[in-house]
């Protein structure tokens, strides 16, 4: 059993080498971000491709953390992500569970859901809905309009349908209500799928940018991506612009290093969460898709 042919070993080594290369390709951009963000601007200009900061500097981070809006929006985004993901999971799982049972009008509801997947309303109708429901300028405008992603709902429903019917039937005989079955039997069995879609939703909230601009007039509620975009994209535009108070441009930070630092800080939380949910990840999505 342990005897492996020469070809096998060659294959393994090639495989290792390939995987290692792939890993480096994946990690390198973050590593580059890290190096550039911790170096001085002169050093960055001087070097063709900066691999490791020769001169360390935390100027970029000082700049970012001295800006009040960055920390504030980071807090807003953490709040939205946690709250939003919980809302998403709650509504997605309850609706998916309901639709996984044999109920009246199920076919119609599924078709209606499918319809929203194929034809989305577009920016202005959605804006009007948010406005008329009084969500404008509230954090909930970033959470409620997209409380359920139809695609996720369909997969979660498939997953629930793939659970053995006998389980819930026997619970039913033992006198459990639908809610009890859902909470005590279905949800505990759905750990992988909760983890996987929780992550999907969380990343979605974390990256949410446009809704913040559109629905929130109060900039103290803007999520981090708005601020990030301003630091990364707009610092160039600023320089190309004729400004009537030239003194306003004074104290501009060196742009690239700050950009890199901002990207790093705002990606970090997702990077940290990823490995812990990774093990559920493939499993969760695959299970849902088997019977699709």
């Amino acid at each position: 059993m342990n005897i492996r042919s020469f070809q096998d070993r060659v294959f393994d080594w090639v495989n290792y080498a390939f995987m290692l290369l792939l890993a480096i390709v994946m990690i390198f951009p973050f590593f580059y971000l890290f190096s550039v963000s911790f170096t001085t601007y002169e050093e960055f200009l001087r070097s063709q491709l900066l691999l490791w900061p020769r001169k360390w500097s935390i100027v970029a981070y000082e700049y970012i953390f001295s800006s009040h809006s960055f920390i504030r929006s980071l807090r807003v985004t953490v709040y939205i992500t946690i709250l939003g993901t919980l809302v998403n999971l709650f509504f997605t799982t309850t609706m998916a569970y309901g639709l996984s049972r044999k109920i009246y009008g199920q076919r119609f509801i599924m078709l209606a859901i499918l319809f929203t997947m194929l034809f989305s309303a577009g920016m202005i109708p959605t804006y009007l809905v948010v406005k008329e429901t009084g969500l404008l300028d509230s954090i909930w405008s970033l959470i409620l309009p997209a409380a359920i992603a139809p695609f996720n709902l369909i997969i979660v429903r498939q997953f629930f349908m793939s659970l053995p019917q006998e389980l819930s039937e026997s619970a039913l005989i033992d006198g459990a209500s639908d809610l009890v079955i859902f909470r005590k039997i279905v949800l505990p069995l759905s750990k992988p799928i909760l983890a996987a879609f929780g992550l999907f939703y969380a990343v979605g909230h974390w990256n949410n940018y446009f809704a913040g601009i559109l629905y929130l007039n109060d900039q103290t509620k803007w999520p981090i991506q708005v601020i990030l975009r301003q630091i990364v994209v707009q610092s160039d535009a600023m320089n190309a612009l004729g400004v009537i108070n030239p003194e306003m441009l004074a104290n501009q930070p060196p742009p690239e290093t700050v950009q890199m630092a901002a990207i790093l800080i705002s990606t970090l939380p997702i990077l940290i969460v990823y490995p812990f949910l990774q093990k559920h990840f493939a499993k969760g999505v695959m299970i849902g898709s088997i019977k699709g």
């Binding site: 009040h68 804006y127 505990p188 559109l214 601020i227 108070n245």
Partner: protein
């Protein structure tokens, strides 16, 4: 064990959702109150227009404005000062410039317009005429005459805002006589004993010398001529004759054509193509974004780049000086064109523009207060008036000692003062409108002597050169609105291929034909139908 964790998780999840939902009932009501307040005030009759002493009445004014860089908080010193000074409740909503266009669409669709709305420049021939025709904005013809900063705007600028003969917009200042010229590393020229080029032929020689003759004398072949980025940015035209945006040349039928298909720009593309082959243009320009294009020049690799009197980055130059302390720049003057002309294309003469909503204008008290704020924010301070003893200027910058200090006789914002929202200037809807463009004195705004010198000599040149008022400016071409961006991109892509050697420059006429078939012909016809002059020579202004 695991089951327990999950059920606790799911239970806590539900609890928090329920808690969240119940919180939902209160939160929007509380947080949307400013919005509803503004809605109420902008509806007619809500504010008593006919009360006796209108000046003492506090008015709520809402505004929507785009902002470059960080958006400062609006509950701080800057807005408070505005509120006190004008006796208003100034509710400004500032949106990052990159998303402004979409926000504007949504706001207009919602039907509740803020009282003062800022537009970016290119909306002047895009959404502005449409909204104006629908009666969204206040007609300003009679008002403009009463306010000096508004009546001082040249007619040719207002002409671009006329919708059915009426003006609904107040343009914000942007220099008409300011262009991107080319700057060259003077120290490299001196090292190689070359003189400042005055034609593309000479410029070509300089670019090749920068590539082959080691201009920085470090013994390595690590330099080249032009720093160029993707989308042929910068354009590297040295006057109107070569300008891809000006309508200067005529075709064989005697019609004006855009510079991007004209023989002048062909010469520029030909020059760049020749030089690219010999390594004198940024090798990977096809994919280089603007920040990296800047880096090519300011890291001392390239010797030729664009310069302007305003908007130069001191940080970039500081970065360059840290690496090559001996660096010096020289800016080029417009080249003499084959047809004898010499000069630059004047800009449209405005940066963006402000409109007042038709709804707000129905309330005379409110309208007057809005115009008061606009007029104040359009006040221009010549350099000698920029003193802490000038009460208006001191207020404008947010009070000396609070948001700025006087350093060497120049106001200098305290660290983060702008980001903290300490200065009214950050929030006012407009900027200063100088009586004469030369009053702007851009060089004085820089602190690095190297940039002061460069922009000073460029400003001298721009003050004495000729200017071409491109005749297409007041013409709105529907085809250009619909397809212009796509057609421009087509030309840029093809010209990029020509420079990179993937398509011969001799294909130029073929490219122009393809462009015309895609809709370019239609644009030429529509624009020519609206052009008032017979010959390009009539459009030159001193």
């Amino acid at each position: 064990m695991n089951k327990k964790v999950v059920s606790i998780l799911s239970a806590s999840m539900m609890i928090s959702v329920i808690a969240g939902c119940s919180g939902n009932n209160n939160e929007p009501a509380a947080s949307s109150s400013p919005a509803s307040a503004s809605t109420a005030s902008s509806s007619p009759g809500a504010s008593g227009a006919s009360s006796g002493d209108a000046a003492k009445q506090k008015v709520t004014i809402t505004a929507l404005k785009y902002k470059y860089g960080e958006v400062p908080p609006t509950d701080k010193n800057g807005v408070n000062l505005i509120n006190e000074h004008f006796n208003v409740d100034y509710q400004i909503n500032m949106i990052p410039q990159g998303s402004y266009s979409d926000k504007l669409s949504a706001v207009f669709a919602s039907g509740t317009l803020p009282d003062i709305i800022s537009f970016e420049g290119d909306d002047a021939w895009n959404r502005y005429p449409k909204f104006a025709k629908q009666g969204a904005f206040a007609d300003l013809d009679s008002i403009i005459q009463q306010y000096p900063s508004m009546s001082g705007v040249p007619d040719y600028i207002y002409d671009q805002f006329k919708v059915d003969g009426k003006i609904y917009a107040i343009p914000t200042f942007s220099p008409a006589r300011s262009v991107f010229s080319i700057m060259i590393r003077k120290d490299w020229l001196d090292n190689l004993n070359l003189s400042v080029p005055t034609s593309y032929e000479e410029l070509k020689k300089v670019a090749l010398a920068f590539t082959n003759d080691d201009p920085d004398k470090n013994g390595k072949k690590d330099t080249y001529g032009f720093a160029l980025g993707k989308d042929l940015n910068p354009k590297l035209n040295m006057g109107t004759y070569w300008d891809p945006t000006a309508w200067y040349h005529k075709d064989e039928q005697g019609r004006f054509i855009p510079g991007s298909i004209a023989p002048g720009y062909k010469e520029v593309v030909q020059t760049l193509a020749d030089l690219y082959k010999q390594g004198a243009v940024t090798p990977d320009f096809v994919t280089l974004d603007w920040a990296n294009t800047n880096k090519e020049f300011y890291s001392g690799k390239a010797g030729i780049f664009i310069a302007a009197i305003n908007g130069m980055s001191e940080d970039y130059v500081k970065g360059l000086l840290a690496i090559q302390p001996e660096a010096k720049f020289v800016s080029l003057e417009a080249f003499k064109a084959p047809d004898g002309s010499q000069g630059w294309t004047a800009a449209r003469g405005f940066g963006g523009f402000n409109v007042i909503s038709a709804q707000a204008a129905k309330d005379p008290v409110k309208l007057e207060r809005i115009l008061e704020i606009l007029e104040f924010s359009r006040k221009f301070y010549p350099v000698e008036d920029r003193k802490e003893t000038n009460p208006d200027y001191d207020f404008y910058l947010g009070n000396v000692g609070v948001s700025y200090d006087m350093v060497d006789g120049k106001p200098k914002f305290k660290e983060n003062a702008v980001n903290l929202g300490l200065a009214p200037s950050t929030f006012l809807p407009d900027g200063g409108w100088p009586a004469k463009e030369a009053d702007m004195n851009y060089p004085a705004g820089y602190s690095l002597p190297l940039i002061q010198e460069l922009t000073g000599s460029l400003a001298n040149h721009l003050n004495s050169t000729n200017w071409y008022a491109s005749p297409n400016y007041p013409v709105i071409s529907q085809t250009n609105l619909d397809k212009g961006a796509q057609l421009d991109q087509y030309l840029i892509d093809e010209q990029t291929k020509m420079i990179a050697g993937q398509r011969p420059v001799s294909d130029w006429d073929k490219m122009v034909d393809e462009w015309k078939k895609m809709g370019g012909e239609q644009i030429i016809q529509e624009v020519n139908a609206g052009i008032a002059i017979k010959d390009a020579s009539e459009a030159w202004i001193k």
